[in-house]
């Protein structure tokens, strides 16, 4: 972290001064305060702050796309999701799950234990195990704090820029800006390795919960099938994602250890 701060200081403050040959009007005390505020942004250990950021990001997502108006569906998804999350290393979180009302095919997670999938993706599923697998993948992102890591990186870059402006309202602004990045992250996504990691965690959590470990590969295949056309809801998959086959390849060696036992629960699956 210190190396990053020094690099940012060099890049955003010292280099411009050297390059342009004049001093900028910078309040050194504010720079110091800003750096301290960024350093204190210890989201790794601040659960309260993590939940608040996740809640705000989720609130904005729900402001754009409402929950599907079906209490039975939402309760069902919460029961399945909470059971899967209970098998994770962060089972103490106050997990909340929701199906949002859009035909797009996707799922999201936000810091603190907020998980969403779209109605479009839900309708592609054919069993409770497949639902569990989708939720398990998203739970994997929260377990690994993938979003938090990206938010921290974004914040570091952003605050480096703010140093030049030498104006920052400390912690409230820190959180506000993180939330802004969070909303953007929902639409821009995470990096490829985070996805592969979440796939592996997803398979294991699905199996731990007693479902068939192959449920996630099955969903990936279904998405791959659905992507074999140019319909607007699915064509973007191939512009912004690893191909489902690539994700399956990434899972393959690890999947050899799973026998295919475990339940699919097609009959109990709540169908829309």
């Amino acid at each position: 972290m210190k190396k990053q701060l020094i690099s940012l200081l060099l890049f955003f403050v010292l280099i411009p001064v050297i390059a342009f040959g004049y001093g900028l009007s910078i309040d050194l005390n504010k720079i110091k305060d800003t750096l301290t505020a960024t350093q204190n942004l210890s989201l790794d250990n601040d659960l309260e702050q993590e939940i608040e950021i996740g809640r705000t990001i989720s609130g904005r997502l729900l402001g754009a796309y409402n929950l599907v108006d079906d209490k039975e569906l939402q309760r069902y998804v919460n029961k399945v999701g909470r059971w899967v999350a209970s098998q994770s290393e962060r089972k103490q979180l106050s997990w909340q799950f929701g199906v949002i009302d859009t035909d797009s095919i996707n799922a999201f997670s936000a810091p603190g234990g907020y998980i969403f999938l779209t109605k479009g993706l839900y309708q592609l599923l054919n069993s409770e195990a497949e639902l569990a697998a989708v939720l398990a993948h998203e739970i994997g992102h929260v377990v690994q704090k993938h979003q938090i890591k990206i938010l921290q990186e974004s914040a570091m870059i952003h605050f480096g820029r703010l140093l030049l402006e030498s104006a920052l309202d400390q912690n409230s602004m820190v959180v506000d800006n993180l939330v802004g990045y969070g909303a953007e992250m929902l639409s821009r996504g995470l990096d490829k390795n985070s996805e592969f990691e979440a796939d592996k965690i997803g398979v294991v959590l699905t199996a731990r919960a007693g479902y068939n470990a192959y449920a996630l590969p099955i969903v990936l295949q279904e998405i791959g099938h659905a992507g074999m056309n140019n319909q607007s809801d699915v064509e973007l998959l191939f512009k912004t994602h690893p191909h489902p086959n690539e994700r399956l390849d990434n899972l393959d060696s690890g999947m050899q250890g799973f026998s295919g036992e475990g339940l699919m629960l097609e009959q109990r699956f709540y169908r829309l």
Binding site: L62, R82, S86, L190, V204, Y214, N229, F238, N245, M255
Partner: protein, 170 residues
């Protein structure tokens, strides 16, 4: 699988006399069995890169047809390579898509499946306290979830992670 075919029928603009034909490839040496389980009898040994027609799926097993036989292989041994329309009248086949987009090399990806939400809509959205309250009202406790799992005969298992390190919070 039936649902999958419905999806195709809906998504691919098929005329009345055409049908979707899903072609896959076995990417490792695999045994074609007569039943969707490991106890099935061997019908044929499929070499890696053999092409098959995908017929049906049951959980972790997929029914495929080779040039001479039909049988079952583990789902994960199959990769879809193309979807075709087969004209049932004259038997001609037209490949409508072949791994659209393929393996792209972009590093920024969306969270689970297909990115479809409008970025501008998200950016301009106002936080909805009402929807957050609704979301919270659907929440269940760990014990409620456990009871529901038990009702479905689900049992928790000890399964180790593979290929990923997960830190346990203190």
């Amino acid at each position: 699988m039936r649902k999958l075919l419905y999806i195709f029928l809906f998504l691919i603009p098929l005329s009345a006399d055409t049908a979707a034909l899903i072609t896959g490839m076995v990417f490792i040496d695999t045994k074609l069995l007569d039943e969707p389980n490991k106890s099935g009898q061997l019908i044929e040994k499929l070499a890696a890169k053999s092409q098959v027609i995908i017929k049906e799926r049951q959980s972790s097993w997929t029914q495929v047809a080779t040039a001479t036989n039909t049988g079952w292989v583990p789902t994960l041994t199959i990769r879809i390579i193309s979807v075709s329309q087969q004209n049932s009248v004259d038997g001609t086949t037209e490949v409508v898509t072949e791994r659209l987009g393929g393996f792209n090399q972009k590093t920024v990806v969306a969270t689970f499946g297909v990115r479809g939400l409008d970025e501008e809509t998200l950016k301009s959205a106002e936080l909805s306290e009402e929807q957050l309250a609704l979301l919270e009202s659907y929440q269940v406790s760990e014990s409620q979830a456990k009871s529901y799992a038990r009702a479905g005969d689900l049992k928790a298992n000890k399964v180790a992670y593979f290929g990923v390190t997960v830190e346990v919070e203190k």
